[in-house]
């Protein structure tokens, strides 16, 4: 289990991480989602003690990271797959990690097998690796000590679709056996297929969080009509919040409520359905609209 409480990191006047609190539960995959530069990596570096926090705490299995006697056996960490000595072979990188943790040599081959790196690939120097191979090697390093907790920063970067599927199955299986998985991504589709719980961050602050099902349910109702002004007026009178997007209205209410409002107003509808079909993407863009760089086109 990972517990982050009121974590804040300031660089001079700039607040990279602003009072972030969340919990990642065992048995679940928690997705840490946010646009680039939102503070995901900084938060993760603070969790593992590479960056000192300005205030707040991060605990893993009830202890500060620095208090873990042999962290590799309790937390698997992958922060940047490219952060490896280019002149070492993949096997050597795993062997060094295994030696540090005090694991038997056979564990290295087990892990190479688990992440589908062939012996000849493992014997190559990392400078000749593709990003996808580096990610596999990084995941192998994280899994080496059979830890209870995994902290992975953008692990799907550089993986091909088959690789992403492979990783999804691996992390799913890991969580199903009681492991805690925290993975970050700036890509919704990756997170959407892997995560059970979501923590959404923008400009250093948490903007939403909950189970994936909850966040999807909160997406409301999508309704279309040829007579948008009349329906809009009726929704305002019914005190319902809504937003307009591409000829449709997104209403923060259940479909049956919206249907009754439309009936009372005598507006013919062309479409009425729960908005979860619109997916997490819209929600993500909406949630981060005020905090992201580009601003959403209305």
């Amino acid at each position: 289990m990972i517990k982050v409480e009121s974590l804040t990191k300031k660089y001079g006047g700039f607040t990279a991480v602003d009072d972030v609190s969340f919990t990642a539960q065992p048995g679940r995959v928690t997705g840490f989602l946010g646009p680039n530069g939102a503070g995901k990596s900084t938060t993760m570096r603070i969790m593992v003690g590479l960056t000192p926090a300005s205030s707040g705490t991060a605990e893993i299995s009830g202890r500060r990271y620095a208090d873990l006697p042999n962290p590799g056996l309790e937390v698997g960490v992958l922060l940047d797959a490219s952060a490896q000595h280019a002149g070492r072979t993949g096997r050597e990188i795993l062997a060094i990690a295994a030696q540090t943790m005090g694991l038997p040599k056979g564990r290295v081959d087990e892990m190479l097998d688990r992440v589908s790196l062939t012996p000849s690939e493992a014997g190559r120097r990392v400078r000749n690796y593709s990003l996808g191979m580096r990610q596999r090697l990084g995941i192998a390093t994280a899994l080496l000590g059979d830890p209870d907790v995994l902290i992975l920063d953008e692990p799907a970067n550089g993986l091909d679709p088959a690789g992403i599927r492979w990783m999804r199955d691996l992390l799913r299986g890991y969580a199903d056996q009681g492991g805690t998985v925290l993975l970050s991504s700036h890509l919704l589709h990756e997170i959407e297929v892997i995560a059970d719980d979501l923590v959404v961050i923008g400009q250093g602050r948490i903007v939403a969080g909950g189970t994936k099902a909850e966040l999807l349910a909160a997406a409301g109702t999508l309704v279309r009509t040829r007579d948008v002004p009349t329906l809009s007026r009726a929704l305002v009178e019914a005190d319902l919040h809504f937003s307009e997007s591409t000829g449709a209205l997104r209403v923060e209410a259940d479909p049956d409520v919206v249907g009754e409002v439309a009936l009372a107003a005598g507006v013919a509808l062309t479409e009425l359905r729960a908005a979860d079909g619109a997916g997490l993407e819209e929600m993500f863009l909406e949630l981060t609209a005020e905090t992201q760089r580009e601003g959403v086109a209305a």
Partner: protein
């Protein structure tokens, strides 16, 4: 919304069997890992192999080119000493800076979450590599002295005592310590290497010119110039005053910047 707490819905998770708390990673293992890391890349391997190779080449050059009258152990010691003085500090510099320049620190400092222990491990490895390298070079030089005198037909002259050899080894260890200090202070491979050459080649030139032209500096030089103070170690005898000069200059030129560098390493962000 400046504060936001997210509580996740908890389903009953499949609990992983509780395991005993693992033992703390012993320092001996950290030293073993750091030792392995200094050999397992091509650059690291050839740097260390280069110590042996250059000692052999330097010894061979003395046999081939030195006049018969100069075939004695001191000549050999000077010849193998020169490449050692360049390579050993590089070994010390790269053992530190590669963690930042190659970004391996991300793994090293998460597997051992106490940077001071990793740095201590590296220091022990550097010390062992330094002493062993010097002894190997000294042995190669001794073989060269035997061979050289046999080939040229002169008497074998052993004019470097064990104590003098000890001083030379100490001087080289100090050189490595300087490399180590620049490594933790600069934390960038090219930067630290350039800084080392400025420190060990450019700086002594400036101070010697200064000493020749400025009388006030000439008097004080042994007390302020670290390179100058180390000269006594190569002269074969070190007086009490010279030890004191070495201690004073090393405090300012080595130990204070080393302390600042280690403090920075412990506090800095590893990216």
């Amino acid at each position: 919304m400046s504060a936001s707490t997210v509580e996740m819905a908890v389903e009953t998770p499949v609990a992983r069997p509780a395991r005993p708390t693992p033992a703390r990673i012993p320092l001996s293992r950290i030293v073993g890992v750091e030792f392995r890391k200094s050999f397992d890349t091509r650059s690291g391997f050839w740097l260390l192999a280069g110590i042996g190779i250059l000692a052999v080449l330097a010894t061979g050059a003395v046999i081939l080119f030195a006049p018969d009258s100069a075939i004695d152990y001191e000549t050999f010691a000077t010849a193998f000493g020169f490449p050692m003085a360049i390579i050993l500090p590089m070994v010390a510099i790269l053992s530190i800076t590669s963690e930042w320049s190659q970004r391996t620190g991300l793994t090293s400092f998460t597997l051992v979450p106490h940077r001071g222990r990793v740095i201590l491990g590296k220091a022990i490895v550097a010390l062992v590599v330094g002493v062993v390298s010097m002894l190997v070079a000294a042995a190669i030089g001794a073989v060269g002295n035997l061979l050289g005198s046999a080939i040229t037909g002169v008497d074998t002259v052993w004019n470097v005592s064990a104590l003098e050899l000890g001083y030379i080894i100490l001087a080289n260890i100090l050189g490595m310590a300087v490399g180590f200090m620049l490594g933790v202070l600069i934390r960038n491979s090219p930067g630290a290497i350039v800084a080392y050459f400025v420190y060990s080649l450019v700086l002594p030139t400036i101070t010697s010119v200064l000493a020749q032209t400025q009388e006030w500096f000439a008097d004080k030089q042994p007390w302020v110039d670290f390179n100058y103070a180390q000269g006594a170690l190569f002269d074969g005898s070190v007086s009490g005053t010279e030890w004191a000069q070495l201690a004073v200059t090393s405090l300012f030129w080595l130990f204070i910047p080393l302390t600042i560098g280690i403090w920075a390493v412990l506090r800095s962000e590893v990216k």
